[in-house]
Symmetry: C2
Subunit: 119 residues, 2 copies
C-alpha cells in the first residue's frame, strides 16, 4: 500500500509508447505512458480503455473524427472503436484497462510492447 | 464519447461526500467527489477502490496507520481494508470502482449516498 505521484513516477520512463504498470485495482491495471508522435491504428475488441492526461496534450484520432485531450482531461475509448493516439510534443498519460491488454490491440508491429512491466 | 475535465466538472457538485458519476469503463464507474471533514469508517468487502486527488489534500486513515494524498497522487485501498477518508479543507477527488458500490461500504448512516447519480 503506497501512494503514487503520477508526475514524479513518469520520470522513470525513458521509452515512448511503452506502458509501465504502477498499480492494480482488482483485475485492472493503472499504467503510465510517455508518448510522442503517432501510434498505430488499432482497437481493443473486449474492453473500453481509459485515457487521462497527466502532462502535455494528446490527440486521439477516430475513423471519422478526432479529439484533443489537455492536461487534466479524461476520455474513455469504447471497446471495438478503431483509434490512433498521437502527440506533437512529449505527453504523459495514465491508462486504465484490464490486466493483459496489449497496447496495440488487434494490430502488431514495432510499437507492440510487453504488457507486464512494472515501474 | 466526450472528454471530461476533472477540475471543471467538480464545479457541478455542491454536497460533500456525494459521488457523481462522470464516465463508465466496462462495468467500472469514474466518480468525482467533493470532500471535507471526516467520513465514516468502512470497508468494501468485494472490491479495491482507486483514489486520486484532483485538487487539495486528503488523508485516508487505517486502523494502524494513515496516509496523506496530495494533488496528483493516486492510491488503491485494497478490498476488505477498513478505512476512513478525511480532509481538513475542501478537497476534490476521483474514485474508480465497480458499478453499484456503496460509498459507505459495510457501514451506513447519514453519509450513505445514492450511487447512481450522474453529473
Amino acid at each position: 500500500m503506497k501512494k503514487i505521484n503520477l508526475q514524479q513516477i513518469s520520470s522513470k520512463i525513458s521509452n515512448y509508447w511503452s506502458p509501465g504498470i504502477v498499480a492494480e485495482m482488482n483485475d485492472y491495471q493503472i499504467k503510465i505512458v510517455k508518448i510522442k508522435g503517432d501510434f498505430v491504428w488499432h482497437h481493443h475488441k473486449k474492453t473500453d480503455e481509459l485515457f487521462y492526461v497527466i502532462e502535455g496534450k494528446m490527440s486521439i484520432n477516430f475513423l471519422d473524427s478526432s479529439i484533443t485531450l489537455n492536461k487534466g482531461e479524461l476520455f474513455i475509448v469504447p471497446k471495438g472503436t478503431e483509434h490512433k493516439p498521437s502527440a506533437d510534443e512529449e505527453c504523459v498519460i495514465m491508462l486504465i484497462e484490464p490486466r493483459g491488454v496489449r497496447n496495440t490491440g488487434n494490430a502488431s508491429g514495432d510499437l507492440t510492447s510487453a504488457n507486464d512491466i512494472w515501474i
